[in-house]
């Protein structure tokens, strides 16, 4: 069985992102870039499935600029067997990414595709579901548990108010939530070994998919900031303010 893990190079989780001075986009000059945290969880899950003897190969794929090779090397150090970069000079929208992934899934004939539920840059939460629709594969989003069962995969999902378990026919799509697992750190020997693993590069044009932008970014602004509040001295002051000034309790 083959598992495909698409992953995205994004601004590091700890970076505070601000708009550019002219509000044309976000300011990504000289910021630290990392693997999207949800994609790391997806990769960890795939590697664990392989380590448990339930998969033969884990392939990491990224669709993006040439710099995304860094994140793919990280994926190789974390346990992916090989990696593919679909190189695109432009940042693509989820629909275009899903279309490119369809081609990779077909070329590699994978049985399970595990993705992060969303990337922490665009916060779209679309790619996995779009890939499922384009391939007519079943999906389980926001996974908190993945259990393989022959030609099926049972997935527990985090939904509003609780948990839901679905049984999917394979090939299937799973997108990961925060608490599916805790990703490992890459060890130094594995980082060295990763340098020798196969990383193939494919120009996006070779896939023959339509990647024309379907949206136009008009501006990026900081959110309205809240006016500074007051620091109170006592619990009595707090109750008084909530009752008589804010009038939110009675």
């Amino acid at each position: 069985m083959k598992i495909l893990v698409p992953l995205k190079r994004v601004v590091d989780y700890n970076v505070k992102v601000r708009p550019l001075g002219d509000n044309s986009n976000v300011d990504l000059n000289n910021v630290k870039m990392s693997v999207n945290p949800f994609c790391e969880i997806a990769l960890e899950e795939a590697v664990r499935i392989k380590e448990a003897g339930n998969a033969d190969e884990v392939i990491a794929v990224s669709i993006g600029k040439t710099e995304s090779q860094e994140q793919l090397r990280t994926a190789l150090a974390l346990g992916a067997d090989r990696a593919i970069l679909v190189e695109s000079e432009n940042l693509l929208e989820p629909l275009a990414i899903a279309k490119a992934l369809v081609k990779i899934v077909e070329q590699e004939s994978v049985d399970l595709i595990i993705l992060g539920k969303q990337a922490i840059d665009g916060d779209n939460n679309q790619t996995g579901q779009m890939l499922g629709a384009l391939l007519n594969y079943p999906q389980a989003t926001n996974a908190s548990e993945v259990v393989l069962d022959g030609s099926h995969v049972n997935v527990t999902r985090e939904i509003d108010g609780g948990l839901q378990t679905l049984k999917l026919n394979m090939p299937a799509i799973v997108t990961t939530d925060l608490r599916l697992n805790e990703p490992r750190y890459a060890s130094l020997p594995n980082i060295m070994k990763a340098k020798k693993k196969e990383l193939s590069i494919l120009p996006i044009a070779d896939l023959g998919v339509d990647v024309t932008p379907r949206t136009e970014l008009l501006s990026v602004e900081s959110p309205p900031s809240r006016a500074a509040g007051v620091i109170l001295e006592t619990v009595d002051d707090l109750i008084d303010k909530l009752k008589n000034e804010a009038k939110v309790i009675s």
Binding site: V17, Q129, L134, S144, N154, G229, V230, V235
Partner: protein, 309 residues
């Protein structure tokens, strides 16, 4: 310009986020069809007939849609989607699961999580965990849009009797199957629907200490939430989490107790009307967004607050 809004419900009652989604739709057009697909959901249909802003209801009552599987529900939406210029759903786990499937089948790039309608094709949406707000123009002819419920006031109800048309069910794709569901039972209001939310963070130190919040929440008729740090530490279950990757709330009153105020948490609650922060660390970033701050040890402040409410 016709709009199809996909209703979220539990076969028993309509979910609140649907009303906010209809409200967002009314900012685009007044030609709004509400699609209600489920199983044994006649009470949802009757309730839908009273919603303001809805001009027509399409109803599918069939076993196949009992658990709202995205594979089957997206096909049902597709059977009518091209009759509309907009397809909209709430950006809840229901809408997030379903809508991108519809969008991809329509070859349209979905606009996720809109917080305002600027014009018929331009919308604002948060990116980077709410650190920035993007204004985006959608170029596709059919626009697929998910709506952040907290950004729009819900539509009201009236005694109107909106016309209901049957939408025929389709046969299931049979590629996925519902196994089970565990929905947490609580006498308290649901986090996203509560007027008051009392949340605890890592400062609570243990799950047991959450009883200090429970007691206050019961007196205020509030829901109890938590920061990601408190959930990761195992104090409370996943579905308590308020934040960019958890629930987005905007109650009248949000009390953050022992929460430092990481950007991911702020993204989930900063649209609350009144924010109270209780934290012994006066430098905690939560105080920068709080209307009222109390720099005190929560283990002193909470019992006092509890006794005086």
């Amino acid at each position: 310009m016709s709009i199809l809004v996909i209703a979220e419900h539990d076969n028993n009652e309509i979910k609140g986020a649907t009303l906010n989604t209809i409200a967002a739709a009314t900012k685009i057009s007044d030609d709004i069809t509400l699609m209600v697909a489920g199983s044994d959901c006649s009470s949802v249909i009757s309730e839908s007939q009273t919603l303001e802003g809805v001009t027509k209801i399409l109803s599918t009552d069939d076993e196949a849609y009992k658990n709202f599987l995205a594979e089957d529900l997206s096909e049902l939406v597709m059977s009518i989607a091209t009759n509309y210029k907009y397809i909209m759903a709430p950006a809840t786990t229901f809408g997030k699961n379903l809508l991108p499937r519809v969008s991809a089948k329509l070859d349209s790039q979905q606009i996720s999580d809109i917080i305002s309608v600027e014009s018929e094709d331009t919308f604002k949406r948060p990116i980077y965990a709410g650190s920035c707000i993007a204004t985006v123009k959608a170029l596709d002819s059919i626009k697929v849009i998910s709506v952040r419920a907290t950004a729009f006031d819900p539509v009201g109800t009236s005694a109107s009797d909106t016309v209901v048309e049957d939408l025929p069910a389709l046969s299931s794709a049979g590629i996925s199957e519902f196994v089970s569901e565990e929905i947490a039972k609580s006498d308290r209001p649901e986090l996203t629907a509560a007027n008051i939310v009392v949340s605890g963070g890592r400062g609570m130190q243990s799950g047991d200490n959450f009883h200090l919040l429970d007691s206050i929440a019961d007196k205020l008729g509030a829901a109890v939430g938590a920061s990601r740090a408190a959930v990761d530490a195992g104090f409370v279950p996943n579905d308590y989490q308020v934040g960019q990757t958890g629930k987005i709330v905007a109650p009248d009153l949000y009390m953050a107790v022992g929460i430092s105020g990481a950007i991911q948490h702020l993204a989930g609650m900063k649209d609350s009307k009144v924010i109270v922060a209780i934290n012994k660390d006066e430098d905690a970033p939560i105080f920068q967004v709080a209307d009222y701050g109390l720099v005190q040890d929560l283990f002193v402040a909470l019992p006092e607050l509890d006794s005086k409410l």
